[in-house]
Symmetry: C3
Subunit: 312 residues, 3 copies
Amino acid sequence: MEFVKKDILSIEELAREEIELILETADSMKEISQRDIKKVPTLRGKTIVHFFHEPSTRTKTSFEIAAKRLSADTVSISASTSSIVKGETLIDTAKNLEAMNPDVIVIRHQASGAPHMIAKKVRSSVVNAGDGMHAHPTQALLDMMTVREKKGTLSGLRVAIIGDIAHSRVARSNIVGFTKMGSTVVVAGPPTMIPTGIESFGVKVTYSIEDAARKADVIIMLRIQKERMGDSLFPSDREYANFFGLTHKAVSKAQKDVLIMHPGPINRGVEIPPEIADGPHSVILDQVENGVAVRMALLYLLIGGSRHASDD
Amino acid sequence: MEFVKKDILSIEELAREEIELILETADSMKEISQRDIKKVPTLRGKTIVHFFHEPSTRTKTSFEIAAKRLSADTVSISASTSSIVKGETLIDTAKNLEAMNPDVIVIRHQASGAPHMIAKKVRSSVVNAGDGMHAHPTQALLDMMTVREKKGTLSGLRVAIIGDIAHSRVARSNIVGFTKMGSTVVVAGPPTMIPTGIESFGVKVTYSIEDAARKADVIIMLRIQKERMGDSLFPSDREYANFFGLTHKAVSKAQKDVLIMHPGPINRGVEIPPEIADGPHSVILDQVENGVAVRMALLYLLIGGSRHASDD
Amino acid sequence: MEFVKKDILSIEELAREEIELILETADSMKEISQRDIKKVPTLRGKTIVHFFHEPSTRTKTSFEIAAKRLSADTVSISASTSSIVKGETLIDTAKNLEAMNPDVIVIRHQASGAPHMIAKKVRSSVVNAGDGMHAHPTQALLDMMTVREKKGTLSGLRVAIIGDIAHSRVARSNIVGFTKMGSTVVVAGPPTMIPTGIESFGVKVTYSIEDAARKADVIIMLRIQKERMGDSLFPSDREYANFFGLTHKAVSKAQKDVLIMHPGPINRGVEIPPEIADGPHSVILDQVENGVAVRMALLYLLIGGSRHASDD
């Protein structure tokens, strides 16, 4: 199968077969990062711009390492150094970047839909590294890679996603992705954090973490945004931890070999207690490792193939 | 012809023949950025330090991409991370950088003359990426490259520069450059923004944008510094746009094939309306693309040749 | 001799023979930076993360240049962009970095002991680039390299260290290093800046800069932290300069070929007058150049050898 997408903007736009191709490619990319010499010349002479409008350590570092292990050249632009502060529009910034002939623009932006808007305007490939409360497709892909690696399949699994479902781009992308790949997704969180009508995505809703965890093969804990603490959604992190922090009791209701996941960075003692984050079910650091592999796979599929084509 | 300059500090210091050599070299560099594999080994093992004391997206990104496409190693230092905050003098910072054996120091600084001061103190080549209200030679070179590419020559052209002439390093470098290459330069702007005595540079002065545009082959709109709005120079951006924003009427007085240019980032609706910025006369994005090519050419001419010499 | 350390955390942990091996390796690395093509493929395919929690120009730039001249891939993370701002613990950040399979994590941190804590938790090599008031081993190594280069040996020399001994990680690492290599170390500073019990390190203490300088082969002036000025330690920088700024009279009491050193950035006219900083005894810029060489040597010894081993 050939990968013909120009951009990676959301899980919605990827067919099941495309997701499978990405995950298979990521498996072979992972092996590169485990070698003594962690570098292949695949994307030599390609230019990748990392355009991050929101602060990010792990996602940006993961993309940069992925690009460098494929021998691409990388340039980084952050919100604070960008012309945005001089009043330029986002489209103008993107068109200007494009004029420098990058092959891929990786963008994180607080505005939902920003990567899509840019993708329509530039010839370069665009990868969405997280936009507002909309989508975080590379996170969903690395989560699916991690589960597939441990369970052998995504089909027929029960995946519980716990936390602020309404405001989480990670939740949204994972719901779409796991459902598409044949998993059953259950979400749980305080009623104020469950969007109305979410059942139409084929998702089961509960307001009890133990209900959600029951017979789960995978439990994905969402990060609680401390900056929302104290507002009307919930009164305090202690209150949140009491009702929706992961507990041993909840884990005990899940499958014996349940995987505990978290997109990071974790708030130890809030959404997940340290002994579970560091415990035998946790695959949180596998997720991080697989993030590099998934991003390598995407860069390769987007721009690595074209070169071979033109070599023919 | 051999290029023997150690530094690129201002257009004033470049002979007409040197400018021609730079522009010809830039033409061949541009082709590299349009290849599938946008990289040549020319500057492998060279170290280029980007030392930016003022925020900048496009200039810094352009220099970094230029260096990487020539296979040089790059290191970036910004004002906020530099020892300047610890009270070190600029010369001490430069001498310290030099001790690490860089081949080129690219510097942007708010103080006019800072790059010259540094160039005198270090053996490394120094490239001025914009100093105060003094000079921005790489911008002028990319502007000349763009015009030459579209018009075939710079000689005998009429070039109008519109805006805050007095405070613009872009204006100053372009006036010197285009005049040196045989163009006639006309400037227009509010009287408070035209420096007294500018006629001595061989420039025509008018206070009407339509007068300046008349029969122009090239119209260069300067960026209005929003941070100066509201002070004594002019009362508001609307007021400015009314008198010195580019209009269809002004464009209609120019040559049929007039080029509309802007150093960016543009303030849409202030100095230039969107339909002209995106219209058929606009070469604004060509300028950005050519910026990478000009900077590749300068790096190559400054330090690429020495290697060949020592290879003999 | 084979270098078997996993980490470089402090001079205390290095044996005399290991220091000698590092300094010899650094001598040969220095030659690379003086070539026309300043790059060797030794660490191709290795990933080095620079994790700087305190602002730093020269140390970070020095490490980055060192890594790139050895062909390693580098990724930088600063405090402001890191997840630390989102409340993640230092160990979690480190474990997450490690999951991306870096070969070396270079860390600077305001908390003494942070690099040691991380080193215990990750398989990657950790290099301490300065932690709190505790240690700055690469600074001590480059200082020792500079003295050894000029004097031929470190044994039997008299080394004076002048300034705020109590709060300086440079002083602490140099005291341990020079003493271990057979030098005699004398420290001088205001009584408030000499830690009690320092004689137990085998150091001589005086409160007079001229006493300390007498017959010195090396005078290391410490940087005065301007941010501590005005507090109880001393009233003003003029007061400090009067008593502990380096003077010609003090230099005249030292050996004829005394070396004047400073870790930088220097406060001209406070701890050192310009004519001495720029004078014939000063090796301040040699220190900077040797900094790159020492860091290349450490990276090579930590991770360059393993590759050869696995090649067998």
